[in-house]
């Protein structure tokens, strides 16, 4: 059996989350307790269950769970990076511009042509702007260019 299957990696990660949460939760204390369980009881219970479950997964991983292929992982990493940049750019650039660029970038990533991707980005952003900002009246950032 391979030592590092996706199951094992996730199991170890979740176990770490459980351990970290339990360490944090032990510090939850208040001067005056209204209920016997207090603020730490339930998080500790959840963390214990999580630790137990993830330990099982680490010890008996599913051999069929594999990491994505290198090329696929690269595309996904590019998408994740673009999401992070989008989050940072949406307020300064405005909803329309940043969404249009992001959608165009993702469309390229999905294998769309250059012109088609740009058009799809502009159309998608415009459609969402009309629906959410104009029809539903939700406040979307106009950005420094249009604002």
């Amino acid at each position: 059996m391979k030592l590092a299957s996706l199951d094992r990696v996730l199991g170890v990660a979740f176990f770490a989350v459980a351990a970290g949460a339990a360490l944090q939760a032990r510090k939850f204390s208040v001067a005056f307790l209204i209920d016997p369980l207090g603020p730490k009881g339930f998080p500790l219970l959840a963390a214990t269950l999580l630790a137990a479950g993830s330990l099982f997964v680490v010890l008996r991983p599913d051999r069929r769970s594999e990491f994505p292929e290198r090329a696929a992982a690269g595309r996904i990493a590019a998408a994740v990076a673009s999401f992070v940049i989008y989050a940072l750019s949406v307020a300064p650039l405005g909803f329309f511009l940043s969404t249009a660029l992001e959608v165009a970038f993702l469309a390229r990533l999905f294998g769309g042509g250059v012109k088609a991707s740009l058009a799809s980005g502009a159309l998608t952003a415009a459609g969402l702007w009309i629906l959410f900002a104009l029809v539903l009246g939700l406040p979307l950032p106009a950005g420094m260019i249009f604002g």
Binding site: L6, L10, G11, F14, V17, A21, Q24, A25, F28, V30, I34, D35, P36, L37, G38, P39, G41, F42, P43, A46, A47, L49, L50, A52, G53, S54, F56, V57, R60, D62, E66, E69, R75, I76, A79, V80, F83, V84, A87, V90, A91, F95, T99, E102, V103, A104, A107, F110, G111, G112, A116, S120, T124, L128, L131, F132, L136, L138, P139, L140
Partner: protein, 509 residues
């Protein structure tokens, strides 16, 4: 019979032209906002309440419209869930299991039709329940104390663990991760901030919309980006309306059972459509899933939760109107609207303002019929969405996710959290962790914690209180049986390795 007389007087109210129009406006708005992930009925109702006040609508008319949004959104919700795997609310998460699987195998039109018909069956059958049992069930639900609630929720998790197929450990991880996420934020009992890392935004807790959209919609974008077989969509022949109806008849009993389960769960304040749809799905899987097709595109897996969450929406009206206890965020907003119009829901409402209660019940018949007529022919239009090429559709799904998450709070942190949950969700799905228990844990966590703490506060720290009433004991036995029985059965069948592997695959979505 008295109930029929009352209902007749209710129809007299509901059939007034103004109320018919308002019911139509309500269900139309409801379907539309239900389709848009992250907007949800609660925002639409909140937006329309001031308008209802401004128009000086009588309370029954306003309630007819606002309730129309509520149950109409249950119809619309299933559309984005089935087509794009983007459940807007927790109650549609179960529909995603088989609904999206049907879409992937080119049966989106059938799934949408079954969902509309099941919603109609659930919606109308449960109105019978509302009319016949409202006074009776109100008395029964009041006996649910904190211990019973806690046991009920453990039962819901046990039932759901069965959905995960063979791998209990992964279901346990997902459930407890959801419960842990649910404790993030301000603890109302002690006033302590938990797991917020000094971030003000997290004081309100993990936003359900952010987590769900990340885990489901964003992770789906990543999955399709892999370029594997899994993400390919196929739009199939759409067929006539009648053909779709005939196909759905095969799932008739599933819809009836789902309606009953959904209604009963919906009546319990706090349980609501999410638990109802999970329970209906789990029940149906136990009863009829002989070949293990649930989770891989079984029509009955769409029919059961859709009937149940619509029935639960009706059932939730009972504690709201007869006890004044809202069972969900949306019914809480409805309660606020009623109070604003000087209608105080409670045991006396049926006697003092019968036109409100019976007028609403009658209008729900009309509204559900309108929804069916509205939705069935439109199935073909909705399915066209799938004919878009992937490079146009999935970036659009991502953009829709951005708006849904960003528009609510204007928070960059929310977008990052959504991305993070997208990555985690993608990896978990790849490794065969079920995501539905995580969502259920996140939604039920606060209720569970509140109830167990209340129970222990009442008993002075004695854990025995959780097993002290016959009702609670019955629920614990049910929970234990649901958790252990399928495990024993699968143990015995472990020799047939290939079959159990298939089941694990099917349930892992």
């Amino acid at each position: 019979m008295e109930a029929i007389q009352h209902l007749a007087s209710g129809f007299a109210v509901a059939l007034q032209p103004l109320n018919v129009i308002l019911a139509f406006v309500g269900v139309l708005v409801g379907t539309t906002v239900g389709m848009l992930p992250g907007i949800g009925p609660i925002n639409a109702i909140a937006v329309l309440i001031p308008i209802a006040f401004a128009l000086r609508l009588p309370p029954e008319s306003a309630l007819i419209m606002l309730a129309g949004i509520y149950y109409g959104s249950q119809y619309g919700n299933s559309i984005s869930t089935i087509l794009l795997n983007v459940p807007g609310t927790a109650s549609a998460v179960t529909t995603a299991l088989d609904g999206y699987a049907m879409t992937q195998s080119g049966r989106a039109a059938s799934a949408l039709a079954v969902s509309a018909i099941a919603s109609f069956v659930g919606g109308t059958l449960s109105i019978f329940g509302l009319v016949l049992f409202a006074p009776l069930l109100a008395k029964w639900a009041i006996r649910f104390g904190p211990a019973e609630y806690f046991a009920l929720m453990v039962f819901a998790f046990a039932a759901l663990a069965g959905l995960a197929g063979a791998n209990r450990a992964k279901a346990l991880v997902a459930t407890s991760l959801g419960l842990l996420l649910a404790t993030v934020g301000f603890d109302p009992n002690s006033g302590l901030a938990r797991f917020t890392f000094g971030e003000m935004k997290l004081l309100d807790g993990m936003d359900f919309v952010v987590v769900t959209i990340g885990l489901f919609a964003v992770s789906e974008v990543f999955r399709v980006l892999e370029g594997g077989e899994a993400g390919r969509l196929a739009a199939a022949a759409i067929g006539s309306v009648m053909a779709r109806v005939r196909e759905a008849v095969a799932a008739a009993w599933t819809m009836v059972r789902g309606s009953v389960v959904g209604f009963l769960v919906g009546v319990l304040p706090g349980a609501g459509g999410t638990v109802a749809s999970f329970m209906a799905y789990a029940t149906e899987q136990r009863l009829v899933d002989r070949r293990g097709t649930f989770g891989s595109g079984d029509m009955r897996g769409v029919a059961a939760p859709e009937a149940a969450n619509n029935a639960a929406a009706t059932g939730a009206m009972i504690p709201l109107l007869t006890l004044g206890i809202p069972g969900s965020g949306t019914t809480a907003v409805l309660l606020g609207a009623l109070l604003g119009m000087n209608v105080t829901p409670g045991p006396l409402l049926l006697e003092q303002r019968p036109e409100v209660f019976w007028g609403l019940a009658a209008s729900m018949y009309l509204g559900n019929a309108m929804l069916l007529v509205l939705n069935l022919p439109l199935v073909g239009v909705f399915v066209r969405v799938l004919e878009l090429p992937r490079w146009a559709l999935f970036p659009g799904v991502a953009a829709l996710s951005f708006v849904a998450v960003y528009a609510v709070n204007q928070s960059v942190l929310d977008l990052w959290l959504m991305t993070g949950f997208g990555v985690v969700g993608y990896l978990m799905r790849r490794a065969g962790f079920p995501l539905a228990p995580l969502i259920l844990g996140l939604v039920l966590g606060p209720l569970m914690e509140k109830n167990v703490r209340r129970a222990l506060a009442l008993s002075g720290g004695d854990w025995g209180v959780l097993f002290s009433s016959p009702l609670a004991i019955a629920l614990w036995i049910l929970a234990a049986a649901t958790a252990v029985l399928p495990w024993l059965v699968s143990r015995r069948g472990a020799g047939r390795g290939a079959l159990s592997l298939l089941r694990a695959e099917g349930g892992s979505q």
